[in-house]
Symmetry: C2
Subunit: 219 residues, 2 copies
């Protein structure tokens, strides 16, 4: 079984706990665009990304979005099992940004093991702290960074994830990631274009000068 | 010892663990305005508020502040012991907003117990999830609520905490809580005054119409 290489504390589980997980483990393939977890409506379980890309975001009553963090190969998603921790009182949406292969440990199984096992509970702590840190970073971005730096940062991140300077992404999508409005993003991108940082074309943004985008991001 | 009534999982500790905590427990009285924890510079330990009021906030490089959450009687503060969880990669400042009596469980002692005890590790999980939820609520406020609603909400919260309609607070202080600028807060308060919601005088804000402030907050 491949799973044990992906689950970092596998060796700290008892034989019974290993069997419990092995017997209940679900393998799933989800298509790009699938909503995997939708607020507190479902308590899917712990997700472990085998390969692919997930996006966790907040959704407002009016349908606005802001990306909290993304998950890549070997990342573990705790908030899809938020029901196992009573004090988690917020709702996030998780969406497959690419075709994704994942394992799911059902929430009830994980919860029962976590309650008896100090290593599993401490591992869960570290998982939550990682996501908490992502969100604190986001607050700092929103509060102290102006939007030009946030857009520059987003474009650089995307080129790094996609490994290309030609990003197939709409202004609307960038707005959703950053919790902004399309019109505002379009204005910013046009400014970037006038500065020679990017080239805009239909449904595509080409990064022309990543060095100066990096300088802008850090300024 | 009074402490055991304040510490919710005291009965789930072993005799050895109880002794370890009792023997290392520190009692402290801090004056209003004292900085109790300053980023990752110190790893104070877990704080348990006996009586008083603490404020946890983010501080930017430029000295701007935004309040993350406050702690009151019987509240437990985990982030003052952030060193015990490796994945916490952000820095907060904790300040006594009132004269405060607290107990401190030294970080190393708590960490050693947490690593061997599933109940303590799970309790820590719940503590972190509570703060994480506070911060997620804050993001939603920042992202989707306009500043008038946030100021209304802050004023109502203060009257509830202080149990008075006469708040002795400066515009500068409100700006620090909300991560805004003094000038912006002053303009908003003057607008509130023109609407008959508050009365402004030197160093004091009197709430005149909490009913309509409440309506504004929820609008």
């Amino acid at each position: 079984m491949d799973f044990e290489n992906y689950f970092p504390i596998w060796n700290k589980l008892t034989a019974t706990q290993k069997n419990l997980i092995s017997d209940s483990l679900i393998t799933q393939h989800v298509k790009k665009g699938t909503i995997i977890h939708n607020g507190n409506l479902d308590c899917t379980g712990l997700l472990l990304v085998k390969s692919g890309q997930l996006r966790t975001y907040l959704l407002s009553d009016e349908g606005r979005e802001i990306t909290l963090y993304r998950l890549f190969d070997m990342d573990m998603c705790l908030l899809s099992a938020s029901c196992i921790i009573q004090s988690i009182q917020f709702e996030v949406t998780i969406e497959a940004e690419k075709d994704t292969d994942l394992w799911i440990i059902p929430a009830e199984i994980y919860k029962s093991i976590m309650q008896e096992s100090a290593p599993v509970a401490n591992y869960t702590n570290e998982l939550m702290a990682t996501r908490f840190s992502d969100v604190m970073w986001l607050i700092e971005q929103i509060m102290w960074k102006s939007l030009d730096k946030r857009v520059a940062s987003f474009l650089l991140e995307e080129t790094s994830i996609e490994r290309t300077n030609e990003l197939k992404i709409t202004h609307e999508t960038i707005a959703s990631h950053l919790g902004s409005h399309r019109e505002v993003i379009t204005r910013m991108l046009r400014y970037f274009q006038s500065e020679g940082l990017v080239k805009l074309s239909r449904g595509k943004i080409t990064i022309l000068d990543s060095k100066n985008l990096e300088i802008l991001r850090k300024s």
